[in-house]
């Protein structure tokens, strides 16, 4: 009856350019006239946190649904360690859909244990994992509460536990940071980091690039169904041909003909320059106009990279 096993998570923590476990190749999907995916390709390395980023409607949710067989791609392939994903393999993945929802009138302890058993866990394992997760989320005393009796925030936590109850080798989380307050964002980030530390590969989507910049080790940036940029975040930033410059002289924004305006908000002007620009020249020119009160010179942020990649 229970002779199929959930594979244990891959133990080794490897770099982003190491071997990949999940590989998506040329994924294409249209709904009527709407092109949701247009040949998207990317990989996920073992035990890495991969931010799957892009604006709303870029194809993030459709890609995730394809991984779980909830949508059938028109073309392209999805493989795990080189093998096509079948029903048994899929049970070792965990999914938190964008449309949150569990059984409202079911006790949360029963609910988590049920989802664990559906994923192939033995009854005792599922019970234990449920207790562990509820403890971790600070909900041990609510084990017999029905989902609908919990606050919205606690329901969100149970939803996350539902995706991770069976210790998946791949966690696919659709917009896990949506609707969280800053403390919630920090807690979620910690959970993702500990998942990866435990060997789970994490693929999560977000349309708020700035919010998740610190969490992602690798990013896949998708736009209109195509992957426009992918790789190790730090490497992408470092190897970018531009730098962001922000200079204030006597507390006023300062600019120069060598700069190109990137962003102008809240009275601060961020400029884009080529990496070849000599910082000393900038400092000299600005210093001649007064006292430099702010000087930022840094690689581009994810948002900058994204804007650059899609040519906006």
């Amino acid at each position: 009856m229970r002779n199929f096993q959930v594979p244990s998570p891959v133990g080794a923590v490897s770099q982003g350019d190491g071997p990949s476990v999940l590989s998506i190749e040329g994924l294409t999907k249209t709904y009527g006239d709407v092109v949701a995916l247009d040949g998207a390709s990317f990989t996920v390395a073992p035990a890495r946190i991969v931010g799957f980023l892009g604006p709303n409607g870029a194809g993030k949710t459709t890609t995730m649904r394809c991984i779980f067989g909830l949508a059938n791609p028109d073309a392209g392939s999805i493989t795990w360690n080189g093998n096509p994903i079948d029903d048994i393999l899929r049970l070792s993945f965990g999914y938190m859909p964008e449309e949150r929802g569990l059984y409202p009138r079911m006790r949360i302890g029963d609910q988590l244990a049920y989802l664990g058993r559906l994923s192939g866990m033995a009854a005792t394992d599922a019970r234990q994992a449920t207790a562990t997760w509820l403890e971790r989320l600070g909900l041990s005393d609510r084990m017999d509460s029905r989902l609908e009796q919990l606050s919205h925030g606690n329901q969100q936590r149970v939803q996350l536990a539902a995706a991770l109850i069976h210790r998946p080798v791949l966690a696919v989380l659709d917009e896990p940071f949506a609707g969280l307050d800053p403390i919630g964002v920090e807690t979620m980030s910690e959970i993702l980091r500990s998942l990866a530390a435990g060997g789970t590969s994490v693929l999560f989507s977000s349309h708020q690039l700035d919010l998740v910049e610190d969490v992602c080790q690798d990013v896949v940036i998708i736009e209109a169904g195509r992957v426009v940029m992918a790789g190790n975040v730090e490497e992408l930033r470092r190897s970018s041909p531009i730098r962001i410059v922000e200079v204030m002289v006597d507390e006023r924004p300062w600019t120069s003909p060598m700069f190109e305006v990137e962003d102008d908000t809240n009275g601060r002007i961020r400029h884009r320059v080529k990496t070849g620009v000599d910082l000393r020249e900038v400092v000299e020119a600005a210093g001649a106009d007064g006292t430099i009160t702010r000087l930022v010179f840094e690689p581009p942020s994810l948002s900058d990279l994204f804007r650059q990649a899609v040519g906006r």
């Binding site: 009856m1 067989g69 909830l70 029903d87 899929r90 929802g101 059984y103 049920y114 559906l118 539902a162």
Partner: protein, 395 residues
Amino acid sequence: MSALHQIFEVARRDFMQRARSKAFLITTLVTIAAIFGLVPLIAQDVLNPPPVVVGTVGATPPGFEPRLEAVAEAFGFEVKLEKADSLQSAEQKVTDGDLDGVVVDGRELVFARSQDARLSAALNAVVQGISRDAAIADLGLSAEDAARIVAPPPLDERVVAEPDPEDMPRRVGAQIGAILLYMAILIFGQFIMMGVMEEKQSRVVEVVLSKVKPERLLTGKILGIGLLGLIQLVAIGGAILGAVLMLDIPGVSLPSLSLGLLSRTLFWFLLGFALYAVLYGALGATVTRQEDAQGAAMLPVILLLPGYFISFTAIEDPDGLASVVGSLVPFSAPIVMPVRAATGTVPVWQLALSIALVVLTTLIVIRLGARIYRGAVLSIGRKVKLREAFKAAAG
């Protein structure tokens, strides 16, 4: 193996969640309590009908009362005489329903709105008998001659075929099976539909379908809710049977139903229930809102009704065209075929064809339902047109 395991888990959840709900327990217990309370009350009136009250105005012929009692007993009812003061007051009482009829001067019968044929026949027999006996006495006939005129010997009666002691239980069993199936499909089919809708409404379906294939989810739900429905049906049916047996009515006992009859009824019951449960499940996947559900729930009823009506025809005419066609069309076969099998002889090929068609249709509907289910996930929150759901699932 994992398929069976998952189906079992889904079935267990759906069974336990409903079985544990207070609403289910209370409805079942109240129904059973009501049966034990109501059956004796209803039986009281049926078993011991109140006596028929006949008013008399003026003189009655000699020997009227004992003769009336004897005739009434032969007719199977009890009679009570009540002398009225006047014709007017007697007519008023008949109108009010206090009297069932009035005999005026031994010559006229008065009823309220319509004639009570049974009472009329009894009173006529009594009054005519009295005057006939008086006429016989006037003619001075011997008792033998009188008997030859008044009571000629009745016709001889005999049967040529061996009576089949199972004939009646078979017909009754098949008919009860048909009615139970009809009710079970309507009630528990809707439960299944609601169960499917619930998962869409709460959006848990996307989580579940990321782990379980829609065919398995649908099959598990039907098994879980269907089993609970069967248990409730058996509990209520058992309560009715128990309440009737407790009355200890002479001549009423558990009919000696053969195992074959019971198993045949059960076999068709399960087959029919599976087909319609799957259909309700598939329809449930197309709707999310309660208003749309009512429309969708009509389709199985429309498919089921012809079979229900044909099953009554099949009792009298098991080999008629309607019965044969009805027992082969998958949507009516589970109701019509057991009735035909009980009251006539069904060729083996028809039986085999009928079973094969029902099973095949069930499997097709499961597949279609699963496709609709998968497609419906992608369009949460609104009614899905069947064609859209197919396209979404196929594309």
